[in-house]
Amino acid sequence: MSAFIAYLLLPLVGIGIWQLDAVKKLDLGGRIAIAGAFGAAIVVAVLAGLSIVSIGWSRSVVISIVVVITAISIYVARPLRTREKHPIDRGAMAALIVIAILIIYGLLDARLSCGDLHFFWGPKAVRFYRDGGVTLGFLADPNTVRMNPGYPLLLPLLYVWSETIARQFSWFSAVLSTALFLFGSVALVRSTSRDDRAAVLMAATLAYAFAIADAAGAGEPPLIFFETLAIVAITFIRDRRAQTVLAALGLACAVMTKIEGATFAIAVVLAVLIIRRTLKQTILIAAPAALLLGAWLAFVRMHDLSEYYRGAAMPIYFAAVTKTLLTLAKAASYELYGLPWIVPIVLIAIAPNRRNAALPLLIALLTFGAAFFFYIHLPDPTWWILSSAPRVLLTPLTALVIASAAAWRSADDLS
């Protein structure tokens, strides 16, 4: 239980981000989700920082630092109460509760668990915790080359935070944290779009797609959460400073969660440049992510760790294009005739403000295209696509659902 409580504490650690006026204007669900993202970034930064300066992760050291940061965070966030209230659609709330019950049931009986949790996300966290830090000895060990030592470390370090509180790794808490990331994403969409029905669509789409993709405990739930934060910030938030800070936070966390986070960051940069044509803001949004990823890649390269970031430089197999497209289409159908895609596309097509959907829609197109581009780097990618595409395509699917919400909002109705 305490292992799961560790995740629930993250919003408290990151509550300092409520200092932003635009965040204060959001409803409680959205504010908690944003504080959770910031709290996750803080906790991971503390653990990584301690490893960088070669201080072991003793429970007292880690918790003391986090408690001090939390106290400062609460102080700067005052006043914690706001008068902002949004009308609640009771039917939508009932639908969200039903979806929550279904997904939590699926998570708790472990049938949605991702193999990758057992193959490397979990084992990495277990070893890091046992070693009292991220050790080069473990990452560079030839025996761990199959555990993707070049993968960024945010998720294993979040799991280490949970272990630090509970004194042991809890597989079920790791699986159940998926529900927090999922409904954190839903809260972000609901709060920033002020559209309860959009939140229901987001919840239904993600819960169903997570179930089909067996994503629980893997990198995708946090990745989608951070990506959602970045997309809704640049799509729905009016205040330029808050937009930049929250998008930068989302991108930085996304690139440090999964290798696909880097592709997403590039897609966001291109989309903002093309649609908004604001070079300065684009640089500010992308800078933290670029710095963190650059530092991580320098570390990986310096120690010759196994990594897959250079996949784009591998030869392309044009003969595999047709097969890749067909297999990708099969995976993208999510065993429901592609309904998760069709619904938001139809919503965009009949929406009154389609132009508002341009930015998230372009992100969806770019990330879908990137997935296809990487898959044609194998002569026969069938197995690779079928085993990974339902998870990889969650990113364009999420962006598409957010685009459908944006298309139904007028430009003067931003948060």
Binding site: G115, H118, G122, P123, R127, R130, N143, R146
Partner: protein, 94 residues
């Protein structure tokens, strides 16, 4: 059922039986010689106090213990150490 599910159960029990610090690998013997690497990765998360290594059973520095799910292991370098409802543990012949 995936064999990795069986390995989760076997590795959990084996963690208290196999001496701490020993090198261990995890296999399904029927997969020989192309063992499914996900089984030893899974065991790695379940046995943090052991050194879980890839399944190179015929190498000079072969693992001291082998966790085997489903079928029995037939390898001259190993003998049965413990038979459990979840699977078998083999020890390297010295």
């Amino acid at each position: 059922m995936y064999p990795s599910r069986d390995m989760i159960l076997l590795a959990q029990v084996a963690a208290d039986i196999v001496p701490r610090g020993a090198t261990v690998t995890a296999i399904r013997p029927a997969d020989a010689p192309d063992y499914d690497i996900t089984l030893y990765l899974t065991a790695g998360g379940m046995m943090p106090r052991h050194r879980v290594v890839p399944p190179n059973l015929d190498a000079a520095d072969r693992p001291q213990f082998v966790l085997a799910v489903r079928e029995p292991l037939s390898n001259p370098h190993y003998r049965l150490y413990r038979e459990l409802p979840e699977g078998r543990i083999y020890e390297a012949v010295k």
